[in-house]
C-alpha cells in the first residue's frame, strides 16, 4: 500500500516537472515573451518549487505516520498517551505551523512586490496606447494617438512594436469579457460601465494568441485575437497603411464586389473607410485583406474560408451575429476579390 503510494507520488512529481518544463506554444503563460509575463512566470516557478517541496514533505510525514501507526496489533483505544509523546507531537506541529507561516510571508511579500512593480510602472508607460472593446464575440481595437489623423480602428489583430510597452484601455461593449495574452501578460476584465487598464510588452518578434477568459455566452470559446509583435519600422509601415482609407477597387471584379458589398446586408454592420459603409456593429473591414485570420482568430483568412463565412458563418461559430447571405457564385467571387484586395 505505502509502496504503491510512494511510487505514484514520485511518478506524479516527475511527470509534473516533465510536462511543466516543456515550454513552448503561442498561448502559454510559462513561455513568457515580455517583461510582464516574465515576472509572473518567475513568481509561478518560485511558488511551484516551494509548494512541491511542502507537498513532498507532508506526504513523507504522512507515509511515516501510517507506517508507524499501522504496526500495532491491539486496537484498544489510547486515551492517555504518555506526556513525552504529547510534547514531541506538540513540537512537531508547532514547527510545521511556524514553517507554514514563514513560507506564507515569503509568498505574500514576493507576490505583493511583483504586483506593485507591474502596476506602478503603468503610469510611466508612454509607449503605444490602444483602446480595446469586447463584443460578443470579437474584439474592437482602436489605436489612439495625439494626432487625430493617426487614429484608426481594426479588429481581432493587434500589431505592436517589439520592446515598447503598450497600454490598453479596456471597455466592455455588451457583457463582461477578459483580455488575456498568456505569453505577454496576465488577464484583465472588460466590464460594461467600467474602464480598466493593463499593459504588455513583447521582447521578441512573433505572433501571440490571446483568448477571452471570462465566460461571455454562446461563442466564448471562439473569441480569440492575435498579437503581432514586429520591429519598429515594420510596425510603423503597418500603422501608416492602417491610417489610410481603403484601397479603391482596381479590377472589374473588385469593382463589382464593392457594389455587392454596398448593396448587400454587409453594409448594415460593417465599416469600410472611404466608402458609404459606416456601421460599427461588426468588425471594421477597411483593411480586412491584411489580416491573418477572420472570425476572431477562428479561421485563417483564405479565399475559401471567406466565402464559406459570408454564406454561412453559423457552421463555424453557431450563434454569432452575422446572418446567412444568399449570394450567387459570381457575386460571391467578386465580393471576396474585393475583400481580399483591402490590404
Amino acid at each position: 500500500m505505502t509502496e504503491f503510494r510512494k511510487t505514484k507520488l514520485l511518478t506524479l512529481a516527475f511527470g509534473a516537472l516533465g510536462f511543466l518544463s516543456s515550454c513552448g506554444g503561442i498561448q502559454n503563460s510559462i513561455n513568457p515573451a515580455g517583461p510582464n509575463a516574465d515576472s509572473l512566470s518567475r513568481l509561478w516557478w518560485l511558488m511551484f518549487y516551494v509548494c512541491t517541496a511542502v507537498y513532498v514533505l507532508v506526504m513523507i510525514a504522512l507515509v511515516i505516520a501510517i507506517r508507524n501507526g499501522g504496526r500495532k496489533s491491539d486496537l484498544n483505544p489510547v486515551l492517555n498517551p504518555s506526556p513525552e509523546t504529547e510534547t514531541r507531537k506538540r513540537n512537531a506541529v508547532l514547527s510545521a505551523v511556524t514553517a507554514t507561516v514563514v513560507i506564507l510571508f515569503v509568498f505574500l511579500i514576493y507576490s505583493y512586490s511583483t504586483g506593485r512593480a507591474l502596476t506602478a510602472d503603468l503610469a510611466q508607460k508612454n509607449g503605444l496606447s490602444i483602446e480595446l472593446t469586447g463584443h460578443q464575440w470579437w474584439w474592437e481595437v482602436r489605436y489612439n494617438d495625439v494626432d487625430a489623423s493617426n487614429i484608426f480602428t481594426t479588429a481581432n489583430e493587434i500589431h505592436i512594436p517589439v520592446g515598447v510597452p503598450v497600454t490598453f484601455t479596456l471597455r466592455g461593449g455588451d457583457v463582461i469579457h477578459s483580455f488575456w495574452v498568456p505569453n505577454l501578460a496576465g488577464k484583465k476584465d472588460l466590464i460594461p460601465g467600467k474602464v480598466a487598464t493593463t499593459w504588455l510588452q513583447a521582447d521578441k518578434p512573433g505572433v501571440y494568441r490571446g483568448q477571452c477568459a471570462e465566460y461571455c455566452g454562446l461563442q466564448h470559446a471562439r473569441m480569440a485575437l492575435w498579437i503581432v509583435a514586429e520591429p519598429q519600422d515594420q510596425f510603423n509601415a503597418w500603422r501608416q497603411n492602417q491610417t489610410q482609407g481603403s484601397v479603391p477597387p482596381a479590377t472589374d471584379s473588385q469593382r463589382y464586389g464593392q457594389q455587392v458589398f454596398l448593396s448587400a446586408p454587409c453594409v448594415m454592420c460593417h465599416t469600410i473607410n472611404g466608402t458609404r459603409a459606416g456601421s460599427n456593429f461588426g468588425p471594421n473591414l477597411t483593411h480586412v485583406g491584411s489580416r491573418n485570420t477572420i472570425a476572431a482568430a477562428t479561421l485563417s483568412n483564405t479565399r475559401e474560408h471567406l466565402m464559406q463565412w459570408i454564406v454561412n458563418s453559423q457552421q463555424f461559430k453557431p450563434g454569432n451575429r452575422m446572418p446567412q447571405n444568399n449570394l450567387g457564385q459570381t457575386e460571391l467571387d467578386a465580393l471576396v476579390d474585393y475583400l481580399q484586395s483591402l490590404k
Binding site: L12, G69, L79, G115, R116, V175, I191, G193, A221
Partner: protein, 662 residues
C-alpha cells in the same frame, strides 16, 4: 408509569427481572409514541430527523449522479479538438447545470444531511430542535432541484454559468426563462440551507445530553455548528444577488444594468461574499468527518482538540474575508486586492494546523486501516494539492495568469472532491452500517477507493498544465493547433475511471442492503454516542438519554455511568440543557408529524415558480404561505413545557440500564 424509576432507593427495591421487564415496557411505549406515520401520509408528514436526513442523502446522491453524468458529457466533448458531440448551446447549459447541481443540490445538502442525521445522535437527543422546520427544508430543497431539472430537460436549462454574472445573465443578453429558473432554484436551496442551519444550531446549543459540555463536543458537531453559522451569514448575500437579478429580469429594475446606472461588479461582490464561504460550508463538515474517522480508526484521541476547535472557528471567520480573490481581474485597486491576498494566505494556517494535528494523531495511533481511513489518506494526498494551488491563486499577480483557466478547474476540484467528496465517501463507509444495519464490503470499498483515487488524479492533474498552457475555462471546444488535445484526452479517460469507482460504491451499497454482514450497534468500536444505540437507531434514538463523562463518550464511560430518567415515554419528550455546560433545564415536548411544512413548501413553490411568469404569483404565494404558516403554529399542541425535575435523577445505574438494543 413512565416516571417510575427515578429514585435510587426505589431502584434498589426492584429485582433484575422486574427491571428488565420495566425497560422492555418503556421501550415498547416509546416505539408507539415515536412511531412514524405510514404510507403516503408518512412520506409527507414524518418529522423523524433520521428519515429526513436519509431522504436528503439519497436525493443529493441522485443529483450527484446527474452532475457526474453531465461532467462525463463535457469530458466526451472535450476529449478531442473541434469535436461536434455537443453544440455550444447544449454545452453551456450542461456546464451551468453541472456546477449548479454540484454546489447547490449535492455538496451543501449532503454534508448538512449527515449533520441532521448524526448531530442529535452524537449529542444524545431524541430529535432535532425544530423537526417541522427540518421537514420544510427538505421539501423546498426537493422542489428546487426538480425545478432545475425540469427546465434542463425541456431545453430551458440555465446557460449563464453557475455564477450567472451580469450583464450576461441580465434580461438583455439572456432572454427567455433559463436564468429565471436558475435564480429561483437558488432561492429554494438557500431557504433549505437556512432551515437546516437553524435546526442544527438549535440542537447543538440546547439539546445536548447532560455532561456534554461545549468543551467535550465531538469535532464533527463543532464542524456542523460552525458551518451552520456560516450558512446563516452567507446565504442572505446570494439570496440578495439572485433576488435582485430576478427582479431585474422580471419587473424591469436596473440594479445590475450599467446603462441605467446599475453596477455589474456589485453582483460579483454579493455573489462571492456568499460564494467563497460556500466552499468552506462544503469543506468544514468534511473536516468533521475526518476527525471522527481518524479518532475511530487511529484508536486514539485527536491530538490538539482545542487547537482543532479554534482552527475551525477561525476558518469560519476568515472564510468571509476572501471573496475578492475571485475578482482579481476586475478593476479593483491593487492595494485593496492585497488585503484579500493576505487573508487568502492566512486561511491556510488553520487548515494546516488541522492537517498537522491529524498526521500527529495517526503517527502515535494504532491504525485500523479500513476503507474510511483510506479515504482520509486520499483526502491528504489530494486536498493538499488543492490547498497549495489555492495559495498560488491567492497571489494577485499570479492569479491574473491562471484565473479562469483550467488551472482553476483543477484547483477547485482538488479542493472540493479531494477535500469534501473523499471524506464524504469515507463517511459513507463509516456510517452506512449505522443507517442500514449492515456492513459494506471491504473489498469493494478498496476498489472504490483505488478507482476513485486514480480516476480523480487522471482527470484533474493534467488540467493544471492545460491552464498554464493557456486553456480558458468554460469553452465548448478548442482548436487542434492549440496542442491541448493529449492532456484533454487523458483527462476524459480519467473521468470514466472515476465514474466506475462511484459505480462500484453504488453496487456495494445495494449489495450490502441484501447480503452485508449485520453490523450491530458499534462495528468500529468507536467513541461517539451514535454507536451506543442499535443500527439502525430506534425512532426515539435513546431509551434513556446518556450522561456524558468525557470527550469520547463511549470510550470514557465508566461501567456504572448514570443515565437520564424521568422523560415521558408516552409523549415525544426530550431534555433541554444549558448552552455552555449542558445543565438540564427543562423537559421539552418535541412537535411530531405534521402536514403543514409540506403545504407551506407548496405555497413557497407557487410564489417562486409561478413568479417566473407573473409577479402577482409572489403575492398569491405570500398569502398561501402565510395562511399555511398560521395553521402550522395554530395546530401545534406542544407548547406546554414542564420544568425539569430537580436535576434529572443522576441515578448510579447498573450497566444493564444503559440502553443496549442489539
Amino acid at each position: 408509569m413512565s416516571h417510575g424509576l427515578t429514585r435510587k432507593s426505589e431502584l434498589a427495591q426492584i429485582s433484575d427481572e422486574e427491571l428488565a421487564a420495566q425497560m422492555d415496557r418503556e421501550r415498547a411505549e416509546l416505539e408507539r409514541t415515536w412511531a412514524p406515520p405510514t404510507g403516503l401520509r408518512g412520506w409527507l408528514t414524518d418529522t423523524d430527523h433520521k428519515r429526513i436526513a436519509l431522504r436528503y442523502v439519497v436525493t443529493a446522491f441522485v443529483f450527484f449522479v446527474f452532475g457526474g453524468l453531465e461532467a462525463a458529457l463535457m469530458r466526451i466533448q472535450l476529449a478531442r479538438p473541434d469535436n461536434h458531440f455537443l453544440d455550444p448551446d447544449k454545452y453551456n447549459q450542461i456546464f451551468t447545470v453541472h456546477g449548479t447541481t454540484m454546489m447547490f443540490l449535492f455538496a451543501v445538502p449532503i454534508v448538512t444531511a449527515l449533520g441532521i442525521y448524526l448531530v442529535p445522535l452524537m449529542v444524545g437527543s431524541r430529535d432535532v430542535a425544530f423537526p417541522r422546520l427540518n421537514l420544510y427544508g427538505y421539501w423546498v430543497y426537493l422542489i428546487g432541484g426538480i425545478l432545475l431539472y425540469t427546465g434542463f430537460l425541456l431545453n430551458t436549462g440555465p446557460d449563464a454559468g453557475w455564477f450567472a454574472y451580469v450583464p450576461l445573465a441580465g434580461p438583455a443578453y439572456s432572454p427567455g426563462k433559463r436564468v429565471d429558473i436558475w435564480a429561483q432554484m437558488i432561492t429554494f436551496t438557500e431557504l433549505s440551507g437556512l432551515a437546516g442551519a437553524v435546526v442544527i444550531i438549535g440542537t447543538v446549543f440546547k439539546m445536548r445530553a447532560p455532561g456534554l459540555t461545549l468543551n467535550r463536543l465531538p469535532l464533527f458537531v463543532w464542524a456542523q455548528l460552525i458551518t451552520s453559522f456560516m450558512i446563516i451569514f452567507a446565504m442572505p448575500s446570494v439570496m440578495l444577488a439572485s433576488g435582485l437579478l430576478a427582479s431585474d429580469r422580471l419587473i424591469d429594475t436596473h440594479f445590475f444594468n450599467p446603462a441605467e446606472g446599475g453596477d455589474a461588479i456589485l453582483y460579483q461582490h454579493l455573489f462571492w461574499f456568499f460564494g467563497h464561504p460556500e466552499v468552506y460550508i462544503i469543506f468544514i463538515p468534511a473536516l468533521g468527518f475526518i476527525s471522527s474517522i481518524v479518532t475511530a480508526f487511529a484508536r486514539t484521541k485527536i491530538f490538539g482538540y482545542t487547537a482543532m476547535v479554534l482552527s475551525l472557528i477561525s476558518t469560519g471567520f476568515i472564510g468571509f474575508g476572501l471573496w475578492v480573490h475571485h475578482m482579481f481581474a476586475t478593476p479593483i485597486p491593487q492595494m485593496g486586492q492585497s488585503f484579500f491576498t493576505a487573508a487568502s494566505m492566512i486561511i491556510t494556517i488553520p487548515t494546516g494546523i488541522q492537517i498537522f494535528c491529524w498526521i500527529a494523531t495517526l503517527w502515535t495511533g494504532k491504525l485500523n486501516i479500513k476503507t474510511p481511513l483510506l479515504f482520509v489518506f486520499g483526502f491528504f494526498a489530494n486536498f493538499i494539492i488543492g490547498g497549495l494551488t489555492g495559495v498560488m491563486l491567492a497571489s494577485v499577480p499570479l492569479d491574473l495568469q491562471i484565473h479562469d483557466t483550467f488551472f482553476v478547474v483543477a484547483h477547485l476540484h482538488y479542493v472540493l472532491i479531494g477535500g469534501s467528496v473523499f471524506p464524504l465517501f469515507g463517511a459513507f463507509y463509516y456510517w452506512i452500517p449505522k443507517w442500514t444495519g449492515r456492513m459494506l464490503s471491504e473489498t469493494l470499498g478498496r476498489w472504490t477507493f483505488a478507482l476513485m483515487f486514480i480516476g480523480f488524479n487522471l482527470v484533474f492533474f493534467p488540467q493544471h498544465i492545460l491552464g498554464l498552457h493557456g486553456m480558458p475555462r468554460r469553452v465548448y471546444t478548442y482548436l487542434p493547433e492549440s496542442g491541448w488535445g493529449t492532456l484533454n484526452l487523458i483527462s476524459s479517460i480519467g473521468a470514466f475511471i472515476l465514474a466506475s469507482g462511484v459505480l462500484v460504491f453504488i453496487i456495494n451499497f445495494l449489495w450490502s442492503r441484501r447480503a452485508g454482514e449485520v453490523a450491530g450497534p458499534d462495528p468500529w468500536a468507536a467513541d461517539t454516542l451514535e454507536w451506543s444505540v442499535s443500527s439502525p437507531p430506534p425512532s426515539y434514538n435513546f431509551h434513556n438519554l446518556p450522561v456524558v463523562q468525557g470527550r469520547h463518550a463511549l470510550w470514557e464511560a465508566t461501567p456504572d455511568a448514570p443515565v437520564v430518567r424521568g422523560l415521558s415515554t408516552t409523549k415525544r419528550e426530550t431534555l433541554v440543557t444549558s448552552v455552555l455546560d449542558a445543565e438540564p433545564e427543562l423537559r421539552f415536548e418535541i412537535p411530531g408529524p405534521s402536514i403543514w411544512p409540506f403545504l407551506v413548501a407548496l405555497g413557497t413553490a407557487e410564489a417562486f415558480i409561478v413568479g417566473i411568469f407573473t409577479p402577482w404569483a409572489i403575492m398569491a404565494g405570500a398569502l398561501l404561505t402565510g395562511a399555511a404558516l398560521i395553521c402550522w403554529f395554530f395546530g401545534d399542541p406542544n407548547y406546554e413545557n414542564r420544568p425539569a425535575i430537580e436535576s434529572p435523577s443522576k441515578v448510579a445505574s447498573p450497566p444493564e440500564l444503559r440502553p443496549k438494543e442489539v
